[in-house]
Subunit: 208 residues, 2 copies
DNA sequence: TAGATTGTTAATCGATTAACAATC
DNA sequence: TAGATTGTTAATCGATTAACAATC
């Protein structure tokens, strides 16, 4: 426990967290690796391996306590830690992300919205004013956001990323098609590439 | 060539496709695996292994012809095949996906929008009327869509998925939190789980 | 031809699965 | 105690990297 958790495990953790939440909501208090494996479509072996990365929370002959396990995963994922975040680009996608996402449940506080378009600046979205991109420097120096959501086109993204990196904002939820990680090794990036995702669906539909 | 392409390779193909498109747009006609590896942040070895899954398109001492390679990847991904798709749930997210995504460039035709809300049905989004979810059966029998985009809440998704499966719509671009694949082994599913993605960003920000 | 770079095999690395002793 | 189920080690499987002969 406390060791290095592999990337493969990390990718599965949010899903464990969700499933445990549902089990909890359904009134269950414990579950075995076998039961969970059937519900999630994984092997029991993999579940035991995964959960053991961060210490033995199961009990032989009994299984896992759902409450304790979920709390532990929340801690590993940092969901309990407050994290401020801003969003750049309040177009269709940015607006949807702002409205749709439950930031608070993951410990995020969305503290600012920015856009470059005259017609969008000043609008109120989810109780927040859309600020001019020109005020980004000042806002960041005052409010020190920890992360930024990029809902802007590829060609605008490079400049904004450089600007944000200089301001100390080095964590990105990246919906743009700009490849942040290749050019900024110190940045932490989570990409959501909708185009690539739809492309993979095309592959799956085409091949067998 | 023509053999089984592993899942790991498939995940990388859309990105290859994009990078090759950019190189083409910049006027280049050929590239070596080493050059491409530097641009993409991969190893040259991996690129050669990946590209060889579908036959030898390189030339020793020369490299790869960008045009030919990109076309080949497009073919593998099925981007050239016309595929009709409908979207269920024209809320913030569904609206953004409808407006934002370039379906045609991936061979998709978005042929119908559906929602259950009185206030949304009848609206025009991207030149298409939002239809009542009550007309889904009739529409599918008439138009035989190949795939569906789900932008609906988890609790509505199970019913809709069952309905669509019965109608022969078995390919899903799934933005809902309903786990289609676990309950429908024959379905082909590409998940976009924004909550899990933001959760992973939380992890990256929290841990070193 | 000489140089470059692929295609491909072999070596390494990591992740998943299986097995079982420990133990609740 | 007996039965169940974990924690953990070992075996298997697959993916990535390295190496180099083939060849343009």
């Amino acid at each position: 426990m406390g060791g290095i958790i592999s990337n493969s495990v990390i990718k599965r953790l949010p899903r464990y967290y969700r499933f445990l939440g549902e089990l909890k909501a359904s009134g269950m208090t414990k579950i075995s690796s076998r039961e969970l494996s059937e519900k999630m479509g994984l092997t029991a072996s993999q579940i035991r391996q995964d959960l053991n990365c961060f210490g033995g929370f199961g009990q032989q002959g009994y299984g896992y306590n759902i409450d304790i396990l979920q709390e532990e995963i929340a801690y590993i994922l940092g969901l309990d830690k407050p994290k401020s975040i801003i969003l750049i680009g309040v177009g269709n996608l940015g607006r949807a992300v702002t409205m749709h996402m439950n930031f608070e449940s993951k410990g995020f506080h969305l503290i600012g919205l920015f856009d470059s378009k005259e017609s969008i600046v000043g609008q109120i979205v989810k109780n927040q004013p859309v600020r001019s991109i020109d005020s980004l420097d000042e806002f960041c120096r005052e409010n020190m956001p920890k992360a930024a959501i990029l809902c802007i086109p590829k060609n605008a993204a490079e400049k904004i990323v450089n600007q944000l990196m200089k301001l100390g904002v080095k964590n990105f939820w990246n919906f743009s098609h700009y490849d942040i990680a290749v050019n900024n090794p110190e940045a932490k990036v989570e990409n959501v590439h909708l185009g690539d995702s739809l492309t993979r669906l095309s592959y799956k539909m085409t091949n067998k």
